[in-house]
Amino acid sequence: MSQERLTNQDETVSSGENSADPTSEPLVDSAIEVPGKNATSTGRTILRAQSFDVYYDDVQALQDVNIEIPEKQVTAMIGPSGCGKSTFLRSINRMNDLIDAARIEGELYFDSKDVYDEDVDPVALRRKIGMVFQHPNPFPKSIFDNVAYGLRVQDMDVDEQQVVEESLKKAALWDEVKDQLDKSALDLSGGQQQRLCIARAIAVDPEVILMDEPASALDPIATSKIEDLIDDLAEDYTVVIVTHNMQQAARISDKTAVFLTGGELVEFDDTEKIFENPEHQRVEDYITGKFG
């Protein structure tokens, strides 16, 4: 299995101290201005897109996206349906590679490495950038096997028992399932399943967790649990979350990116600023519900 590991994993996921590359300089502004709970974190840029375009066949889904996502904070992406926010999210860990029709242009840096460089193995990239999907999608396996799946496929040399327990605790699910780890994950409720998916994603200790509308298929109580969880996760991980729910974005995120129709990133700033005093009229219209 070792040959499946990429050639240059280390480069891709280097610890990020390469300040020699000017493009990876931290975003000074964001480090100062970010309010709220994570204000103490460095705000170092971990993901940076530059003139980033995505096409599906001939249709342009994203145009000229420039964004710098800070480390260990929650960045929300909002916008109307079909505006390309999910496309952008799935471009970050190259899930769009699975769609043959997708084609990208421009650069997207994780740490200081363009993830679309030819020497980047998407499998290695996804080991550092985990993902949680819109609909809870646990495997039809036991709860334990679900969480341990990532450890097994990555051939990680760790104590499975311990990592599974820690991940489930981090995902606030341990107390509910500790006596039934052997049961099928499909027996859990929708909210529990989604937390299981989060536990599964953090078990392999990624740096970034991408969430594609993680609460949109859940009821309000389950949603609020997920939101609390995202809050906690931001202490250890960078969270990028796509959501349709603007209140949710306002509640949980430190920074917000607004995509509008045509795959255009119209505004990206501190969440507070976006919701209280956006620069663009279109963004204000969208947020106040005049459009979209």
Partner: protein
Amino acid sequence: MAAETPSWAQQAGQVSRLRGRAFEAICLASTSLALVSVMVLLLFVANDAFRPFEAEPALTFAIPVLPGLELFVVPVVLPAYLLVFGATLGLPVALTALYYYRRDDPAGEVAYATLGLPIVSLLVSAGVLVMFIEVLTVSELFATELALLVAVGAIYGHARLRPRKAVERLAIIIVAPVVALAGLPPAMFNDIVNGIAGLAGVGPVLTTRLFSVRELVLASPFLPVRWVMLLATVTLPVVAIFAPILARRRESREAGLALGGLSMIVAALGLVAAPALGVGSDVWIVVASVTVPPLAVYVEGVVRRREGMAGLAFPLVLIGGALAGWLLVQQVGFGMPDPWLDWGFLTNAHSRFSAEKTGIYPPLVGSVMMLFAIVILIFPVGVGAAIYLEEYAPSQGLAGKFVTLIEINIGNLAGVPSVVYGLLGLALFIRFLSMPVGAIIVGALAVGLLILPIVIISAQEAIRAVPDSHREASYGMGATRWQTIRDVVLPQAFPGILTGTILALGRAIGETAPLLMIGMPAIVRRAPDGFFATGSAMPRQIFRWSKEFDPLYRHGVLAAGVVTLLVVLLIMNGTAIILRNKFQREETA
């Protein structure tokens, strides 16, 4: 309070429902026509095969269709034994079935499975026994299994000791089975080289070779006695499959060990009990090993779930009823019918002189061997192709168009007449590759190619049914494509693949035209003793009987053959249905 019906509640005057009703009636008529014609055919054949109404004494009476008109009178013959069996077997069975249907739905399913499982197990054990009688000796199987065990042990041992050496492991995976089963170099290779050397006028070049584990075991003077080998080769593998299932379900090693021990003891009991019953101890050991573990696991599951336990009584009702009826008939002295399809029919070969003594044994064995060969040859190829087409093949651009073209053509191949595959078999395998005419393996290849597209298509459907979200989840956690296929896609698609394959095999067992084309003989007096031996198959033999001059062959024997074929088919389809239901339940649970 007779409120007047408001006008909106009436049928709207301007909309006629007549056409809808007519359409419904036509659909109903076609369904009934299809069902009735198949039923009539089956009953007709079954009547010929079993002759249930030809036994003395019998009640005879005439039912007048039109009173007063002698011409329209239907004579009815009702043998006495039928009445007895109706009372002891038919009525109780019908009543229990009705009870399950009305009161206890899960019990019906349990009844179906507890009845079906032993039947399938018995058939499998019959297959194993026939294999020992006709194809392999027990010691050969013992040596082969031991050698395989050594090879698997070597592979696992290496993986344990040197886990990161992928190239080494690949070499071991290739070399170990060869050394274990065939030796290095394989005996055939030596023969070929020496043969060429002999032609060139040189003596044998390769005189030494590393003997395979299999050969060493066979040559060993310390081979265990036959029954120990039987227990080791037949009972142990079955136990090794089912004991862990039980252990996992009950979450206790003891349960698994208990099942294993119990099965071994029951099988070994054959040494004492079988001679007393007048069967060979081999028969007992094989039947017990194949029947006891799966049945025990199933019954345990039913008892543990406490759902449908009443269904477990169904086989008892059936067997008890049959036994009681038989004893009663014997006691009173009623005559029993003389069915064409009896034990003798299943164990004899075709006889030119007596329809009564004719049997279907050699073609039955031939058919089963063909099926076995087809599964071994076609299953990996079909599933592999389906995995490639669904998981790897490009879907965009020129290559994608090409893949689409291939898929369409696989669909077309599924519709190619079987005669054409027979021609392919004749031209390719017999003429070009010089394989023996009418050999089991040639039949298996021709019919296998015929069902290959069906296997591919059904496997594709099963793989496609695995939700993409599961693939994405797997990729999202850093799994490679191969890991995703192995750990996520295949486990979920497997039941569907299995069902599709079994249904395709059902088609394979009934194919006749390719067998005619590749020159399968109509009449074989001995069962084939290997895959390269000449053999026949059931449909081929049935076709032959249809052309016999003696009407006894054309009616009785032919019908018995058809029923045998249909029963094998029915059992295969039933297995497919049980498997599908079982796995579907596990998915949704």
